[in-house]
């Protein structure tokens, strides 16, 4: 028997209480974090957050304390944005949190707004998430009526554009422009939404904030590794026995997480895990003992990203998956900057001809050259990561014969 590593902190209430009831949330310990945040005040809370070592859960893993401090020190008025535009293929943890425990996200949002001194908040919710939208609207109404929101909250729906999860593209989208990223600097902490200093946090990050405020930095650090503190939500999909969202401490080996989800389906063997979704990388069976932490994955050139783990069994057509990923980036590139607009198109063409057995001499080198250009010269994370899965697949299938 493998030790069951699951720790339900963020998922403590999920599936166990009525997510539509503020009362049920409070009875289950909700809003203790806000109570304590109000009791100790903004500066000690910011200290606490910094000591917790919380890193952003949207994919970039930026230290939350650093971001919050920058916004708190910037001139008012300030904006708070909750990034709920979850669109990374294979990722659904934010949706589950918003549908099943919406008040935990709102509690974190209120704590964040009060701590950095933001009077306005906006939740940018993925356009396709109708269920989460209904849940959120109702929860915002209940929290407002109970005097627990403490900030004006606007729920803003996306309209089908992966790029709008990029924070500056998100600002443009809210401002009624095409969702194209802006050049940085200026960073959002200086000039973000409507040109104002803006704190942008992911849904899961805000849910963690409520935990840290309630129980303190030490309790938070009790889980995870020295540099990746706390627990992480992972989204398991594909050829896994029980797909779903699982919460484990950072540092849990990939093997244990797969076991927790029932192992590879139909008793088959693992071929690869696409870690981090379309913008992530493939990990082969020789990586099963990798500790799932920011630093653990970085040592092998991978990243946790959004927490998506798409499992491919031994029968899956790996290169067909690569083709779909390449098409995804070709379709979702906003077209603003040349390296990404042209690079994603050329990448797809090469991947397609390799898949169809029409590969040419030098195609592998061309893919690597393209990857270098896109990674170095694209304006935003979309272009910078658009070749990640393709290049990691080359390493798995070996030189010369991707199919």
């Amino acid at each position: 028997m493998t030790r069951v590593p699951e720790v339900r902190r963020l998922l403590a209430r999920v599936g166990r209480i009525d997510p539509g009831s503020l009362e049920a949330y409070r009875d289950a310990g909700g809003y203790r974090g806000l109570g304590r945040a109000l009791e100790i005040g903004p500066e000690p809370l910011l200290e606490e957050l910094t000591r917790s070592g919380l890193l952003g859960r949207g994919g970039a893993a930026f230290p939350s304390g650093v971001k919050w401090k920058a916004v708190a020190q910037a001139p008012a008025p300030r904006w708070l944005v909750c990034n709920a535009d979850e669109s990374e293929p294979g990722t659904f943890k934010d949706r589950v949190l918003l549908e099943q425990d919406p008040f935990s996200v709102l509690e974190g949002l209120t704590i964040a707004a009060r701590t950095v001194g933001a009077e306005d908040a906006l939740i940018y919710l993925r356009g396709e998430y109708d269920g989460a939208a209904a849940r959120l609207e109702d929860a915002i109404g209940q929290a407002t009526a109970a005097g627990l929101l403490g900030v004006r909250v606007r729920l803003f729906r996306g309209a089908g554009a992966y790029i709008c999860g990029e924070e500056t593209a998100l600002f443009n989208s809210v401002e009624g422009r095409r969702g194209e990223p802006r050049s940085k600097p200026p960073f959002p902490t200086e000039a973000g939404l409507f040109g104002r200093p803006t704190l942008v946090n992911n849904v899961e990050t805000l849910a963690n904030v409520a935990l840290i405020a309630a129980d303190g930095a030490e309790a938070f650090r009790a889980h995870g590794t020295e540099r990746s503190t706390g627990t992480k939500l992972f989204c398991l999909s594909g050829h896994i026995e029980r797909p779903g969202v699982y919460e484990v401490p950072f540092g849990t080996p990939l093997r244990e997480l797969l076991d927790l989800a029932g192992g590879i389906w139909r008793g088959r063997r693992l071929q690869a895990v696409l870690c981090g979704g379309a913008s992530g990388s493939f990990l082969g069976p020789d990586r099963l003992d990798v500790p799932l932490s920011f630093e653990g994955l970085r040592t092998m050139g991978a990243a946790i990203g959004s927490g998506a783990l798409i499992v491919l069994d031994e029968t899956a057509d790996l290169w067909r998956t690569v083709q779909r990923v390449a098409r995804f980036f070709r379709e979702e590139s906003c077209g603003q900057c040349v390296p990404c607009r042209v690079g994603t198109q050329r990448q797809l063409e090469i991947v397609d001809r390799l898949a169809e057995g029409r590969g040419r001499a030098g195609d592998m080198d061309l893919l690597r050259d393209l990857a270098g250009a896109m990674t170095d010269a694209s304006i935003c994370g979309l272009g910078q990561t658009a070749s990640s899965a393709v290049i990691s697949a080359l390493a798995l299938v070996g030189e010369g014969t991707p199919v």
């Binding site: 990722t91 396709e128 109708d130 089908g160 379309a278 067909r320 998956t321 979702e332």
Partner: protein, 184 residues
């Protein structure tokens, strides 16, 4: 040129935009940040966004028509042509493909003809006309974020988890001849 405003806006289009303005409840504070919500509200109401609607929205927000056109063509969920049947979105992304989406797509193609190409509406590329076979206007879409229930589809705005062709056909029948909203 497509990005030039239409010569006339019908009363129906004007009324639809006014209804959407009232739904937003922005009062006198109507500004550019209401552009996307306004387009979404009209689409919920009428099922798609005609050029007259875009012109009226431009007028209401005091924006040049090409600016509104540019935004409307950017988002995949905004429809710039009337759906040719009940709008059906079927996920063909990696997690759904690994759990049967390819077989599902093949079955749907037999029933409803080839799907509309999703990228046709993404980021301003010209759309391809929809083919309404069996009263359905369908297209494949990237990950819908419901991967634990793969394969998934959205039929007339209603989510189908663990979708199969029979389930989709049933949802199409339930959505009626015009269908619900395309999901935005």
């Amino acid at each position: 040129m497509e990005h030039n405003p239409p010569s006339a806006v019908t009363q129906g289009e004007k009324d639809a935009v006014e209804r959407a303005v009232r739904v937003l409840d922005a009062g006198s504070g109507l500004s550019r940040t209401h552009l996307l919500p306004l387009l979404q509200a009209v689409q919920r109401d009428r099922g798609w966004l005609s050029r007259g609607v875009l012109a009226q929205v431009a007028e209401r927000l005091r924006l040049p028509f090409p600016e509104v056109w540019g935004v409307a063509t950017f988002y995949a969920l905004l429809r710039l042509e009337p759906p040719a049947g009940v709008p059906v979105h079927v996920c063909d992304d990696v997690p759904c493909r690994l759990r049967g989406a390819e077989a599902l797509l093949a079955e749907l193609e037999v029933r409803y003809g080839p799907p509309r190409r999703f990228s046709g509406r993404a980021h301003g590329e010209p759309a391809e006309p929809g083919v309404a076979k069996g009263g359905v206007d369908w297209e494949t879409v990237p990950c819908l974020g419901q991967c634990e229930a793969a394969p998934v589809a959205v039929v007339g705005g209603a989510l189908c988890r663990g979708a199969d062709a029979a389930g989709i056909a049933g949802a199409v029948a339930a959505a009626g001849p015009r269908g619900g909203d395309a999901g935005a």
